[in-house]
C-alpha cells in the first residue's frame, strides 16, 4: 500500500507547472472580486480616481449603511433564506424521485421523459403564465416564487444518467433482498451519488437565492420581497436623482458603483459563508472496495 501511495503522490515537474498555471488563473478570477469588495468600502472620490487600487487608503462604511438603512433589507434576506431552503428541498425532492423513476423499466417511461424535455423548449409565454398564477390565487403570495419552479429538466437528466452508471449488481442484490423502490433509492443510490446530489442542491439553492423576476411580476407587498429584488431597488435608489425634491427629503451621499458592490457583497457573503462547509460533500466518493465482487 505504501509503495502504491508513493506512486500516486510522487511529485513530478508537471505538478509544479500545474500549480503555477492554476494560481495565475486564481489571481485572474479573484482580483475582480477583491476589487468589488474594495469599491464597496472606499469613498467615491478614491474609487473614481483609482478604480483598480490594490489597497484602500481610506475606508468608510457609507455604502453598507445605505444598504442596511433600507427598511426592507433584513426582511428580504430572511425571505430569500426561507425561499432558498424550502425551494431547494422542494426542487431536489421532485427531481431525484423523478430521475430515479426514469431509470426503472416502467411502461410509458420514454413518454414521460419526453413530456419533461418538451417543456424545456416550449412554453406559453409571459401572459398566460401570469393569468395562471392569478387563477390559482397565488398573486402576492410567497409560494408564487417557489412552486412554479418545479424541476430543472437538465439537472434531472444528469442525475438520471448518473443513477444509471451505478452498477446494477448493487440494486439487483438489494431488490433480491426484498428492498422496495424507495429503500433502494434512498439507502443505496443516494449515498453513492452524494457529490452529484450536493452539486445540484447547491445549484437549486443558488437559483432560489437569486430569484427576483417572479417577485417583480407577482409580489405586491413590500414585506414579501426577496433579497435580489430589494437590492435592485436599493441600487436604483442610489442612481435615481429625485426630480421632485420633497421638502426636507434629501438623499444621503452615495455613489452608484459603491452601492452596487455593497449589494453584491451582501448577496454573496451568506453563500460564501456556507459553501466551504458543504465542500466535503462534493469530494466524497466511492472508496476502494465498495464494489468488489
Amino acid at each position: 500500500m505504501t509503495a502504491t501511495k508513493k506512486g500516486l503522490y510522487r511529485k513530478e515537474p508537471l505538478d509544479y507547472i500545474l500549480l503555477v498555471l492554476l494560481s495565475l488563473i486564481l489571481i485572474l478570477i479573484l482580483y475582480p472580486f477583491y476589487n468589488a469588495v474594495l469599491i464597496s468600502i472606499v469613498p467615491q472620490n478614491d474609487y473614481v480616481r483609482a478604480p483598480l487600487m490594490l489597497w484602500p487608503s481610506r475606508v468608510e462604511s457609507t455604502n453598507y449603511k445605505f444598504v442596511f438603512d433600507s427598511p426592507v433589507l433584513l426582511r428580504s434576506m430572511a425571505t430569500s433564506a426561507v425561499m432558498m431552503v424550502v425551494g431547494a428541498i422542494y426542487n431536489m425532492l421532485l427531481t431525484v424521485l423523478f430521475a430515479y423513476a426514469m431509470t426503472r423499466p416502467i411502461p410509458g417511461r420514454n413518454f414521460f421523459r419526453f413530456i419533461m424535455v418538451f417543456t424545456m423548449y416550449f412554453g406559453g409565454g409571459l401572459i398566460p403564465y401570469y393569468l395562471l398564477i392569478k387563477a390559482l390565487g397565488l398573486l402576492d403570495n410567497f409560494w408564487s416564487m417557489v412552486l412554479p419552479t418545479v424541476i430543472s429538466v437538465t439537472y434531472m437528466l444528469i442525475i438520471s444518467n448518473s443513477m444509471n452508471s451505478v452498477p446494477s449488481e448493487l440494486t439487483e442484490s438489494a431488490a433480491m433482498d426484498g428492498a422496495g423502490e424507495i429503500r433502494i433509492l434512498f439507502q443505496i443510490m443516494l449515498p453513492l451519488l452524494l457529490p452529484i446530489l450536493a452539486t445540484f442542491t447547491l445549484y437549486y439553492a443558488v437559483e432560489r437565492w437569486n430569484e427576483w423576476y417572479s417577485a417583480m411580476l407577482f409580489i405586491k407587498s413590500v414585506d414579501k420581497w426577496p433579497l435580489q429584488y430589494a437590492l435592485r431597488k436599493i441600487i436604483s435608489d442610489a442612481n435615481f436623482i429625485s426630480t421632485q425634491a420633497v421638502t426636507g427629503e434629501y438623499r444621503p451621499p452615495t455613489y452608484g458603483e459603491g452601492i452596487k458592490m455593497a449589494c453584491i457583497v451582501v448577496t454573496v457573503f451568506p453563500l460564501m459563508a456556507v459553501y466551504p462547509f458543504l465542500q466535503r460533500y462534493f469530494l466524497t466518493g466511492l472508496t476502494a472496495g465498495a464494489v468488489k465482487g
Binding site: 472620490n45 438603512d69 433584513l74 421632485q244 425634491a245 426636507g248 455613489y255 452608484g256 458603483e257 462547509f277
Partner: protein, 565 residues
C-alpha cells in the same frame, strides 16, 4: 449528517443577520415619531392632530382668519380601500402625516410597489393580465399613447367623467394640454396626467443644461459672469482644463463632457440651433412629411457632434456605459461638465453632498451653464416637453364610491390646503397658515438654514397624481435657485431665448404604420453612436444610412401625409 448540515446553514444565516443588525444604522427613530419631534421644535400644542374634520387647530399666531384651516371638508363616514401603484412603497404611508390624511379621508391604501426600472414592464403585465389596481399610476410617456389608446378602447379603464363638482381638478383639467391630446379617447377621458405646475415663463421646457465646475473656469481665468458661453469658448476651456489639470487628477484623467445615459446623444443635439424645429417628422420643401434625419440641419448637427466626440471633448466611454458612471466621474472631480436633468432642485441636492464629501469648498464652485447655439452664438434653445409627469388611470373595476372618494382626495390635494399639506404636513403641527397663499413651516432649522424635516427620507408619492407641487415653495432649499438667478433673468427677458414647441398632434398620431414603426428614433440613435465611434467620413456614412432607411420610412410618411394635415 443531514442534521449537521441544517445546523450549519441556520448558524450561518443567523450570523449574517446578526452582522447586518450590528451594521444597521438606527436612523429609523425620526420618521416613525415625527409628532414628538415637531412638538419639540414648536411650543404650539399638537392636540390638533387628533381633531376630526372641521375641528380646532391650535394656531399659535391666530393671525389667519379661519382657525379651521387645513382640514378637508366632506362626508367621509364610509371607509374605503384603494389599491394603488406607487414608487418607494417601503418608505410610504408610515408617517404621522400620512396617518392623519388616512384618518381625515377614511381611506385605507393598499400600496403596490413599483420601481423605476420595472414600472413599464409591470404596468404592461398588469394590464395584459387584467390585474389593474384601483389607481394605476405610472410613468407614461407621450410615445406610449398608441398603446394606452388600445387599452382604453379594450375597456381597461374607467372613464373620468364630469369634474365640475371638483373646482381645483376642473381648473387643472382645463389647463393641462396632455389630458385632451393624449388621454382622451373617442371623446372620453381615461386618465389623469399630473400637471408639472412649472412657472409660465419656462414654457414647459425642461433643463437640458450643463452643470460645470465654475471654480476650474475661474482658476483658468476663462470664467464669464452669468455662466453663458459660446461653443468656441467652451471647447477652449475644455482644452485648457485637460492641459492644465486644475484638479490635480493626473494626465489624461480629466474628461471634458460627461452625461446621463439617456441624454447622450440626443440632448447634445437638441441644444444646437441649426433648425427651429426638431419634430420627428417635418415637412420638406414640397409640403410632404419626411423624417427629421433626412434634413440638412440634422447633417450639420451630426457633424458637429462627431467633431466633439472624436476630438475627445466628450468622454469616450460615454458610448459604452449604461448607469450613472457619468455623474460619478463628475462628482469625483474628473469631468468639467455634466449634462443631465439639472433642475434647480437637483443642484440644491448636489451642493449638500458635494460640500460634505469635500469635493468642493462652496456651492459657488458648481454652476449651471448655458451654451449658445453654434450658428448664431447668441441664441439659447430649449425643447418644450410634456406638461405633465406621470399619469394615473382608474381600473374598470372602480365603483362609484371609490371613484368619488378618490376625486375628493385629489381635489383637496390640488387645493391650497392640499398644497400646504404636501409641502409640510399636518396643519398646526407642521405648519401654520398666515394668508390665503402663504404658510409658515414650524420645523426647526439646521445650521445651514434648511428645515429639519421630521419626514426625512420618506416618500409622499401617492399625493402626486393630481399635479405636482409648484416649485419653489415655502419649504424649498433655495441654493439651487440662487445659482440659476442670472439664467432665469436671461430666460425671462432676452429675445434670444427660444423654445421649440411640442407637436402634440404628431406625437399622439394614431396611424397604423406610425404605431408600428414610430419615428425610428432608436435606429437614429444607434446610427449616431456608430458614427461617433468610428473614424470614417460622416457625410458618406450618413448618405449610406439614409439610403438604407428610405424604404422604411416611406410608408409612415405617406400615412402622415394622408391623415395629418
Amino acid at each position: 449528517m443531514k442534521k449537521r448540515l441544517l445546523i450549519i446553514v441556520s448558524l450561518a444565516v443567523a450570523s449574517v443577520m446578526l452582522f447586518s443588525a450590528c451594521g444597521a444604522n438606527n436612523s429609523g427613530a425620526a420618521p416613525s415619531d415625527p409628532v414628538v419631534a415637531a412638538s419639540d421644535g414648536n411650543a404650539a400644542a399638537s392636540e390638533s392632530a387628533a381633531a376630526d374634520s372641521g375641528g380646532e387647530a391650535a394656531a399659535s399666531d391666530g393671525q389667519y382668519e379661519n382657525p379651521g384651516y387645513g382640514y378637508p371638508v366632506g362626508d367621509f363616514s364610509e371607509p374605503v380601500t384603494i389599491s394603488m401603484t406607487v414608487l418607494d412603497a417601503e418608505k410610504t404611508g408610515n408617517t404621522a402625516r400620512d396617518k392623519w390624511l388616512f384618518d381625515q379621508f377614511n381611506i385605507k391604501f393598499e400600496l403596490i410597489p413599483v420601481t423605476w426600472g420595472d414600472w413599464l414592464e409591470k404596468v404592461r403585465v398588469m394590464v395584459a393580465g387584467d390585474d389593474i389596481p384601483d389607481i394605476l399610476w405610472w410613468d407614461m410617456k407621450i410615445n406610449h399613447t398608441a398603446e394606452f389608446r388600445s387599452w382604453a378602447q379594450a375597456g381597461a379603464f374607467r372613464e373620468i367623467g364630469d369634474t365640475a363638482a371638483y373646482p381645483n381638478l376642473q381648473a387643472l383639467r382645463e389647463k393641462t394640454v396632455s389630458m385632451e391630446k393624449m388621454l382622451t379617447v373617442d371623446g372620453k377621458l381615461y386618465g389623469w396626467s399630473a400637471n408639472r405646475n412649472n412657472p409660465d415663463w419656462l414654457d414647459n421646457a425642461y433643463y437640458p443644461m450643463f452643470a460645470y465646475r465654475r471654480d476650474w473656469a475661474q482658476a483658468l481665468n476663462m470664467y464669464k459672469e452669468g455662466d453663458q458661453y459660446t461653443w468656441a469658448e467652451v471647447l477652449a476651456m475644455i482644452d485648457a482644463v485637460k492641459q492644465q489639470d486644475p484638479n490635480g487628477n493626473g494626465a489624461g484623467n480629466t474628461f471634458g463632457m460627461v452625461s446621463e445615459t439617456w441624454a447622450f446623444p440626443g440632448v447634445y443635439m437638441s441644444i444646437l440651433d441649426y433648425s427651429e424645429t426638431q419634430d420627428s417628422y417635418v415637412k420638406d420643401a414640397s409640403g410632404k412629411y419626411t423624417p427629421y434625419f433626412t434634413t440638412d440641419a440634422f447633417r450639420q448637427e451630426l457633424k458637429f457632434l462627431a467633431d466633439l466626440y472624436r476630438g475627445g471633448y466628450i468622454w469616450k466611454d460615454q458610448i459604452a456605459i449604461s448607469g450613472s458612471e457619468g455623474l460619478d466621474n463628475f462628482k469625483a472631480g474628473r469631468a468639467f461638465m455634466y449634462l443631465g436633468n439639472n433642475s434647480p432642485d437637483w443642484f440644491s441636492g448636489q451642493y449638500a453632498s458635494w460640500v460634505e464629501t469635500g469635493s468642493i469648498d462652496s456651492p459657488d464652485a458648481l454652476a449651471p451653464m448655458i451654451i449658445f447655439g453654434p450658428v448664431t452664438n447668441t441664441r439659447f434653445t430649449l425643447v418644450q416637453t410634456e406638461d405633465y409627469w406621470t399619469v394615473a388611470n382608474f381600473s374598470h373595476n372602480v365603483d362609484d364610491k371609490k371613484y368619488e372618494r378618490i376625486l375628493q382626495l385629489w381635489d383637496w390635494y390640488a387645493s391650497e390646503d392640499g398644497r400646504a399639506y404636501r409641502v409640510s404636513g399636518i396643519p398646526g403641527v407642521d405648519y401654520e397658515r398666515v394668508s390665503d397663499t402663504d404658510i409658515n413651516i414650524l420645523w426647526t432649522k439646521t445650521a445651514d438654514g434648511l428645515y429639519d424635516s421630521p419626514y426625512r427620507d420618506t416618500a409622499n408619492n401617492f399625493a402626486t397624481p393630481p399635479c405636482l407641487v409648484p416649485s419653489p415653495n415655502e419649504g424649498t432649499n433655495m441654493t439651487g435657485y440662487n445659482a440659476f438667478e442670472k439664467i432665469f433673468e436671461f430666460i425671462q427677458t432676452s429675445p434670444d431665448y427660444f423654445v421649440r414647441p411640442l407637436n402634440w398632434d404628431l406625437n399622439t398620431f394614431n396611424g397604423e404604420q406610425f404605431s408600428q414603426y414610430g419615428s425610428f428614433s432608436s435606429e437614429r440613435d444607434e446610427f449616431i453612436k456608430t458614427v461617433l465611434a468610428s473614424s470614417d467620413d460622416v457625410d458618406s456614412m450618413l448618405d449610406q444610412w439614409l439610403g438604407e432607411m428610405a424604404p422604411k420610412w416611406g410608408p409612415v410618411a405617406a400615412e402622415l401625409d394622408e391623415q395629418l394635415k
